[in-house]
Symmetry: C2
Subunit: 219 residues, 2 copies
DNA sequence: GCAGTTTATTTGTGATCACATATTAAGGGG
DNA sequence: CCCCTTAATATGTGATCACAAATAAACTGC
């Protein structure tokens, strides 16, 4: 049974979905590793029906791949695919940042500062899984201020696809330092400099491409 | 039972998915109209299980909305949502066009010409459903040449969300003329002018925003 | 006639099962 | 020792059912 995810009121299939999704994002599934319906169902003590719904939903969101015979597995990341997804992020995320900038008040900024300092901790302790998850939350928090749900959903679907792979990337990096564009973003936000914010976001996205070098699956 | 969709080998849930998806894209469901699991299942002469999977998949792809109580319905389109989706298209589709341009050979161009002339017919006869579907195929054909599956999937998910609404928009327009950016795109393609192609695509996307004026749902 | 309440009906959810196919393990021939 | 065949096992698919909640309909009192 997966970590501390409470089960209050929400439907079973939704709970299974969140549990599995969290596991995928945290790197709990190695790329190419299969997830079977019966295995998932018995492990989480539910029936096959909600397990199937959760898996299919993740497949629809491309957080899982499906073989022609119907087996679901954690997706592999090729260089070409990652470049495409990075290009999409580079196009969409600055647009989201531009929308968020005017809506950013003090509470948001302090929240982002808290999240960023936590990220530094994770980086220092080398906790790759926590870093990836925290990084996703940082971006999601910023984009929430954009008040653009459709656009945000698009970006989130990209994060869902790259998340497990980034877990591997940061795992390889260990405690190595990397440029802190988050600080630059927060600084731009306090100055209400939308263009600088967008630029910081773009740089952050680009950096991911550099870091990923050499971690790709063949083909 | 929906039109001429054969049932060769493919799993039932997939067939139901495609059938329902086609219906949604063609405007067969009015915005806000509900689709019930039992209704869909009995109509297509299948059990509830594949019907449920198809509906949930469409919900995951945002081609259907789901109420908090679990009822699925055709999505409503607000101005804000459409503007977001149009912005995303405006960012992503030119990028796809840029990638497609160098890969475009004669067979692709002639195929696009055929598709475009068919579009003119549909516009002349005022067949809005056929126009929307044909327009989607035109763009999909062009972007296929980009050889960027991840990026294309992202764009297709936007089309899936805007499709039913565009059906309404073109239905309102009737046989009214609109600027033919498709011809401009084809012309740019023959000249191997990638920038001009991207510009034509951008203009085509922008035009949709103008046309949609006044067709939005409240709130 | 109408608003609030109560009853009927419809609907989504989750579980269990049979069946066909895919995957893996075992066995045998070169 | 490796490859091909065959048996055993695991897996996805689709159907059916019971249950609770939500929606629609009927009804009552005013």
């Amino acid at each position: 049974m997966d970590a501390n995810t409470p089960r209050a009121g929400i439907p079973t299939h939704d709970w299974v979905y969140r549990t599995l999704r969290r596991r995928i994002m945290g790197g709990g599934l190695a790329p190419g590793e299969a997830v079977t319906l019966r295995g998932l169902a018995t492990e989480l003590a539910v029936s096959m029906t909600p397990a199937r719904e959760a898996v299919r939903r993740l497949v629809a969101e491309r957080a899982l791949e499906m073989t022609p015979t119907g087996r679901a597995m954690a997706p592999r990341m090729t260089r070409a695919r990652f470049e495409e997804l990075t290009e999409a992020r580079e196009l969409l995320e600055p647009a989201l940042a531009l929308r968020a900038a005017p809506n950013a008040g003090k509470p948001l900024i302090s929240r982002l500062k808290t999240l960023d300092s936590r990220l530094d901790d994770h980086m220092a302790t080398g906790d790759a899984a926590a870093y990836v998850e925290g990084n996703a939350i940082f971006h999601a928090t910023l984009y929430e201020a954009a008040e653009a749900p459709a656009l945000s959903a698009l970006v989130e679907s990209i994060w869902l696809q790259t998340g497990p792979f980034m877990r591997v990337v940061y795992g390889r990096l260990g405690t190595q330092n990397l440029a802190d564009y988050h600080a630059a973003a927060i600084s731009a936000l306090t100055r209400r400099d939308a263009a600088a914010l967008a630029q910081a976001v773009r740089a952050d996205v680009r950096q991911a491409l550099t870091l990923a070098e050499g971690a790709f699956d063949p083909a």
